[in-house]
Symmetry: C2
Subunit: 111 residues, 2 copies
């Protein structure tokens, strides 16, 4: 159906999946990395940086904003986007909570 039965899963599972979905596009990863490097940038820059249309980038920015990874403040006629540090740490911890449920690899240990 293309529709996820999210009522079957717990909150942690749904939340992690939601955040993962936002990271599940290379353009959004690229946007994040660009913001990490420049610690503030704008839509216009990104259109040059990545090779996507302005409308497409604006759409990706909206999704990143929706899960709170980035935040934007109006700066004259432009908008300064940057990583939301609190949310960033939150997400990092969310992922590591999952990753740390398994000890570091011991090759050949598994089935």
């Amino acid at each position: 159906m293309g529709v996820t039965k999210s009522d079957l899963f717990n909150e942690m599972q749904n939340e992690l999946a939601t955040v993962a979905k936002v990271l599940a596009h290379p353009a959004r990863v690229a946007i994040i990395q660009h913001l990490l490097k420049s610690n503030a940038c704008i839509n216009g820059d990104l259109v040059q940086e990545l090779g996507l249309a302005q409308a497409t980038i604006s759409q990706h920015l909206r999704e990143l904003k929706l899960v709170g990874i980035i935040q934007g403040t109006i700066d004259g006629s432009r908008i300064s986007y940057c990583i939301n540090p609190v949310r960033w740490t939150e997400i990092k911890n969310q992922f590591n909570e999952l990753f740390d449920q398994y000890p570091t690899a011991i090759p050949g240990e598994c089935c």
Copy 2:
């Protein structure tokens, strides 16, 4: 178009996005967590555990297998699935490489 222009992005960005896409469904997160807990399980168990049809779960397992997060070995008429520990660590490091490009949150520091 629904088609990702992956040639615009670098390998790290494409790979991270690919792995994130696999984690971007709560059923797959749930499957992973179940495997983490039981350290080996099978398709049949999961049909009981989650409320999804057998065909659907098989499909999710295939995607997890495709990116190497899990591996399955034939065990009579059943299949034992488990986390691939080496790949697991690889993925964990891949995410943390991104996460660690930003220092831990200092609230109110951003724009």
